[in-house]
Symmetry: C2
């Protein structure tokens, strides 16, 4: 099972190939969560003065694209505070189209990220110093976290969210 | 750039040691989320007719304990539908105490779970057939998902949740 040394820290939990499937599985669920929203509620509804689900989704997109490129190349662009008031799609169709573009970019970029790259400690986005695997975990966890919040928005609208276990 | 290995699927993303830290880091954040709730709201408040945060936390606990034991031994107990109306703690202190017991059980059990165990496909809880690494991912993701929902409950109460990036 071990690919490199015999140290305990090298005991494989998951491979890079599995992690891609895991991430894209979550992204597929998030896509279906976007679809579950009525178009107006996607852009104008939230609970507790939080951001709309479209804004949360834009954050996921804005992290994923420079994120996967940074992981592949080590070139991390600084990400400014998110302000999507001008640049984000304003239809559900537009948002889903952008989502699907990101899916492709991730699939195309991932094979260039070696195991060694994931083990490296870098300053992601010029701000966050972590092992690259932790940075990637952060992208996925942040998506799960915000999608879970979208589920509450849906429930409070009387809409059944997609099954969490379907990817 | 790729290292020589038998198959691409063996390229290390994270080790079992890292995954334990990752899980316990999330559990530490969940603990602080429990603490952020006023005691009454923990047990009697939700949004959109969902379960209370205490009930969501009990689900995490009820998955984690038989879950980590199943991963270690291959003996998966059937988990019945969750009904905590009789058996769950009814104070914040009691819930946190139970949480900390689970933290210890996980730390003590984890070293018995080999990399080979995580790569095995098993029927978790007698119901869910998956690679054991995916089963463990499910435990963690389910916790992130429901904790994110707890964040909405807190926000809707005007309470600032803990920073998501602090573990």
């Amino acid at each position: 099972m071990k690919t490199q040394s015999a140290t305990a820290s090298q005991e494989l939990f998951v491979s890079t190939e599995v992690m891609l499937k895991h991430w894209q599985g979550h992204r597929n669920l998030t896509r279906r969560t976007i679809e579950a929203f009525p178009e107006d509620k996607l852009f104008n509804y939230s609970v507790g003065d939080m951001r709309t689900f479209a804004q949360l989704v834009m954050e996921m997109i804005d992290i994923a694209v420079p994120g996967v490129k940074g992981l592949a190349t080590g070139n991390w662009e600084q990400v400014e505070e998110f302000d999507h008031t001008k640049s984000m799609p304003n239809t559900k169709e537009g948002l889903l189209e952008l989502w699907d573009k990101v899916t492709k970019i991730i699939d195309e970029t991932w094979p260039n990220i070696t195991s060694e790259r994931f083990q490296k400690v870098e300053v992601a986005f010029g701000q966050y110093e972590n092992a690259n695997y932790d940075t990637l975990f952060y992208f996925v966890d942040n998506e799960i976290h915000h999608r879970g919040q979208g589920y509450v928005y849906l429930r409070s609208l009387g809409i059944e969210p997609p099954f969490f276990w379907e990817r």
